[in-house]
Symmetry: C2
Subunit: 335 residues, 2 copies
Amino acid sequence: MVTLKQLAEQLNVSVSTVSKALHNSEEISKDTIQRVQELAKHLDYQPNRMALSLKSNKTKTLGVIIPNVLNHFFAKALYAIEMEATKQGYNLITCVSNELLSKEMSSLQLLSNGSVDGFIMSIAEETQVKNSMDHITTILKKDIPVVLFDRVAEDIECDKVIIDDFGASYEATKHLLSEGRKYIVLVSEIEELSVGKLRTNGYLKAFEENIDYKQPPIVIHVNKDNDVEASIKNLFMSNPKVDGILSIDNTSGVVALHKALKKGFKVPEDLSIIGFSDENVLVFTDPKLSTISQHTMDIGKATVELLIDRLNKKNTTTHVTKTIKTNLILRGTTK
Amino acid sequence: MVTLKQLAEQLNVSVSTVSKALHNSEEISKDTIQRVQELAKHLDYQPNRMALSLKSNKTKTLGVIIPNVLNHFFAKALYAIEMEATKQGYNLITCVSNELLSKEMSSLQLLSNGSVDGFIMSIAEETQVKNSMDHITTILKKDIPVVLFDRVAEDIECDKVIIDDFGASYEATKHLLSEGRKYIVLVSEIEELSVGKLRTNGYLKAFEENIDYKQPPIVIHVNKDNDVEASIKNLFMSNPKVDGILSIDNTSGVVALHKALKKGFKVPEDLSIIGFSDENVLVFTDPKLSTISQHTMDIGKATVELLIDRLNKKNTTTHVTKTIKTNLILRGTTK
DNA sequence: TGCTAATTGTTTGAGCGTTACCATGGATAA
DNA sequence: TTATCCATGGTAACGCTCAAACAATTAGCA
């Protein structure tokens, strides 16, 4: 790596002259500026990032901690975050917590040594289950800003980006009811998560409001460590009269559709299905799955915007929670 | 952030005493060491990463540039890279080239200012198509090591991690032939890529060797920007006698299976299908897709190992290419 | 017992690559 | 002669480490 010192030596001027010349300082003569800039270009000089960071106490780097890159939602969020961060001149240090509290803690801990200016994170499942958030509040106390997205924690005071989970599944359930469905089952792989609970509540709420409706709500918990397919098969066995399915996670909707078709259900004539999936699964289904679309790109973009905003005016104490709209997109698996 | 200086002031010793004490230096008395370490722990002292990097000229950070996080293969590779890097005490700065040469160039350029110790990358499609590799050789000339994986370039001299693409599809084709298939079609979304070409050649080679075999090889190019499903439908229209399909990309195998079932093909009685997919798609298929397994975790791990090896002994000039074994895993879509 | 030599524990100082502020010296104007 | 301007140089600091210097104690020896 070429340094200011080397440029200075070659040009027989001082280091500070070179530094000023590269910044087009008024103090330096046109002639010197040109000589310096030419040599800098020629030798492909780049200011050393570490020296800059040390001096300015800013890294222009954001820490991103997501539970799982293999989950399409988080991969897409990461993609959006990366795009927006790059656009704004920031780099990303990415960590995967793998849904583990311990990994989340150590990532946060390790990166809070001046490696990043702030964090964007979605909370690991274990962390939510144990409701153990001290590692996050510790970071906030050190005055390092954190933006939480999707899986957030009520009692942490920081900026957040969420979707209206409750409202989204409420609307979806309402839609199934309006189709005249009489036996609507909710399928969930994510009962432990904040978003899972909210989505379930939306479904339940829609039922409560329908007083003349006889069927009690049925919530099927799929354990994603076990066999998702077996659980879905079981769903059809124990609920042969099912005529509506709301899947509140990424995959079970697709699996349910496949199993239903295999069982001989006509979709959407006999059975409507709505998933919480992204468009990526559509290529794998026929008819195309109707879904609640989360606008993941918007979510990712918003997290970066909030974090950089916060970095630029660190003093403000009020925190904002941004709710990204969802859309119920009706395709081939609803009437 | 607490600094050595602050600790030194509180303890009435010099900065270097504190530094040495924290490193358990022999020079420092047991008593001082203890006092220093206690205070450091109490104030949660962490050495400033930027200062360390500036001093040592090592960042303990690796740059990862992948074409697309939404592709399951790359997401999984990233996951593996992250795990191994973390294990070895390295952080990751992740960039997504989005298959664009320009983005790949700027990422490489921006991170070569001392932000990372080395790069792990898989080449963008545009870069491969234009065969424009100068940005990579430039980095290598600056003595920043690069490890390429999966999508590599022959003429770049650096460490590489690949799979035996040729051999894998050769074996798969051989298997289909051994089943007695008479009309085997290759489906590819990735004709432009190095790996796509190798896999296609493996298929062609298997045909060449089968002299008593009448059918000419048929290669169907699916343009992934257009409708994959339409292309597959078309495949069945124009080749009604097809009884074997080898898909050499991530998704077209699954789509082919769905369309075949819909068309009324009995799988695997009438038609065998082998995909290049990862296990993640299995939940979406019934019968389960037979696949060539790429051992993506091993690939990711190997890239990190090679890069860190290289960082630890920078002088060596010989470069290694590591080939990760593949497995043909026969499941429900082959006899 | 007194003096030097070795040992121990600590401080000083330089340097990694930058930038920001202050100093300097030469030319020109008042 | 002194004030003013212009172009450049010098220095300190960011937080850290490492070599070298330095006191203060202890050992070695006549």
